[in-house]
């Protein structure tokens, strides 16, 4: 099984364009993820990397180009149990308390007919929670967790359907070192089992050894597609923490009634 055989692409974007409001965010990007491949999507804030993955899952409408998932046009793709998605979040909590089990179980709905979870489904949910090292806290409320643990819950939720393809939007954002190690180990295990991964990352960080290929976006265009870029200068120093303020225009104003 060759890794970049185009016939084997699990995700394929061709000349995809998208706008947010009237502002073009993607200006015709090409992106392939082969079966068993781990691809990192890199770029500065506002480069369009989050928008690109959100077009794949259908959260952002495209204005041109083609998207295929497992060889099927995105609009006709129905087999969502094969896809595990980790949205960009700082919390797994909603407005009402929920246990880790309850949140992770919603990731199993793609395999559960009529939303009825059988014994096999509950076992899969328990396995997913165990994979991220939260088995002893499964009955705890997610409100009681730390930032890194929230991210682990979100990843367990994505793994609950036992997907072949993982799409993760900045899974390492705001994650403490202990959780980063758990996440990297979880991901390594999934990749060893043959999962394909598309990761949006701000920087390569602890996941670097896993990454086969990096695609760099800038202003909605692909500027690099190949081996992961090596960190240089100060960025290459061990323990370098890439911290800088995020631009405010990324978040729309929320009024509560509309969200």
């Amino acid at each position: 099984m060759t890794k970049t055989d185009p016939g084997e692409a699990v995700i394929s974007l061709r000349k995809v364009t998208a706008e947010l409001g009237s502002r073009p965010v993607l200006r015709g990007i090409d992106l392939q993820v082969g079966r068993g491949e781990v691809v990192a999507l890199l770029g500065a804030n506002g480069s369009g990397k989050s928008t690109a993955v959100r077009t794949v899952i259908g959260q952002v409408p495209v204005s041109g180009g083609e998207i295929e998932i497992f060889g099927a046009p995105r609009r006709r793709f129905r087999d969502w149990a094969r896809v595990g998605y980790v949205p960009q979040r700082t919390t797994a909590a909603g407005g009402v308390p929920a246990t880790i089990s309850e949140v992770v179980a919603s990731g199993r709905l793609s395999r559960a007919r009529f939303g009825i979870l059988g014994r096999a489904d509950r076992a899969a949910v328990a396995r997913a929670i165990d994979l991220v090292g939260l088995a002893d806290r499964a009955k705890d409320s997610v409100n009681a967790l730390s930032g890194g643990q929230h991210q682990r819950v979100l990843i367990a939720r994505a793994l609950a359907s036992e997907p072949e393809l993982l799409i993760m939007d900045e899974p390492m954002a705001g994650v403490d070192l202990a959780s980063q190690e758990v996440l990297a180990a979880t991901l390594r295990e999934q990749v060893a089992k043959g999962a394909s991964v598309l990761l949006v990352l701000h920087e390569l960080g602890p996941l670097e050894p896993l990454i086969d290929r990096a695609v760099v976006l800038r202003d909605g265009c692909v500027t690099h597609d190949g081996p992961p870029p090596r960190a240089v200068g100060q960025h290459a120093l061990p323990g370098h923490d890439h911290v800088h303020p995020h631009t405010a225009d990324a978040e729309p104003v929320r009024t509560g009634l509309l969200t």
Binding site: G21, R54, I57, G58, Q59, R78, W80, A81, V83, Y85, P87, R89, A92, G94, G95, V96, P97, A98, T99, E102, V103, A105, S106, G107, L109, S110, A112, G115, L117, D136, R137, K139, D140, S141, A144, S146, G148, R157, S161, I167, D176, A178, S179, P252, V253, T255, G256, L257, L258, T259
Partner: protein, 295 residues
């Protein structure tokens, strides 16, 4: 029990119990998606339905249901497409609905705002045989949706974007939530009144949260609180001759305050337990092991 001897009180109590069950059952999903005030908006819009019911001499309950459903669907559509101007569109919908209600009821033959009063704040003596039938049917629908589709509604209300990737029909479920909330508003309208409906959707859920850690438990406790306060409030209203809607809502807020006070030691104990559980990821700074000083 003297209170059960009168047919109108039997009807009022039955309606009250159904309100106590349905309002928190829908409200929990609204609170979960942080749309706690949605019920209030639907209540405003439903007033136009009540007014139309009087004007056209049809059942105000069914007319209010129809108008509330249309209003809730419009609100959901505004949420999809509205983006930046959405909140202003919603405000117009709410106040337009309220103004429409007042206008229609004044135009109705023999109508006056006195008739509207019982719909706005609830009334026990006016729950008719026909109302009870409507309330029972609507309540059955609400329970069927909120219990039968609880996993789907939980997923969509917890994280809409993620729910889309599990293949759930997110838009259909959002519309269903809106319609169910609209139906609940009209179920509750006769007992607590349109202007106070939202309190019964939100406050029992907020009160239950003081004690619970899971969604399932929050659901059960908030319905239990809902039933307790609607029965208690209806009985108090009968014996003390005070308006039922206001009594029920004040009672619910009382329960919320009582549970919050009672839960404070519980929360402390849980925080300690959580800290102990997190001992593997140390909560405090550990002094790094220094290499032994030479010499």
């Amino acid at each position: 029990m003297e209170i059960l001897e009168y047919a109108f009180m039997q009807r009022a109590l039955l309606a009250a119990v159904l309100v106590g069950i349905t309002a928190p059952a829908v409200g929990i999903y609204l609170v979960q998606r942080r749309q706690a005030l949605m019920g209030d908006g639907i209540g405003h819009v439903a007033m136009t339905g009540v007014g139309l019911g009087f004007l056209l001499s049809t059942s105000p309950v069914w007319m209010a249901t129809a108008v509330a459903i249309v209003g809730a669907v419009i609100m959901e559509l505004i949420r999809w497409y509205g983006k930046t101007r959405g909140d202003i569109a919603l405000a117009m919908l709410f106040y337009g609905g309220m103004a429409g209600g007042v206008m229609f009821i004044n135009l109705a033959p023999g109508g006056s705002n006195a008739n509207l009063q019982s719909y706005l704040f609830g009334s026990l003596s006016t729950v008719s045989e026909e109302d009870v039938t409507a309330i029972c049917l609507l309540a059955a629908f609400v329970v069927l949706v909120t219990v039968g589709l609880r996993r789907q509604l939980f997923a969509v209300s917890q994280d809409e974007e993620f729910a889309r990737v599990t293949g759930l029909p997110v838009r259909a479920l959002n519309l269903l939530t809106a319609v169910t909330a609209a139906v609940t508003v009209t179920v509750a309208m006769r007992v607590v009144g349109l202007l106070l409906v939202s309190a019964l959707m939100v406050v029992p859920v907020a009160a239950a949260q003081q004690l619970t850690r899971s969604f399932a438990a929050t659901f059960a406790v908030s319905v239990a609180i809902g039933v307790a306060v609607t029965i208690g409030g209806t009985a108090t209203s009968y014996y003390q001759d005070v308006p039922p809607g206001a009594t029920i809502v004040l009672l619910t807020i009382g329960v919320f305050i009582a549970l919050t006070v009672l839960a404070t030691p519980l929360a402390r104990r849980r925080a300690r337990a959580a800290a102990a559980a997190a001992a593997s990821d140390p909560a405090e700074c550990a002094v790094p092991a220094q290499p032994a000083a030479k010499g």
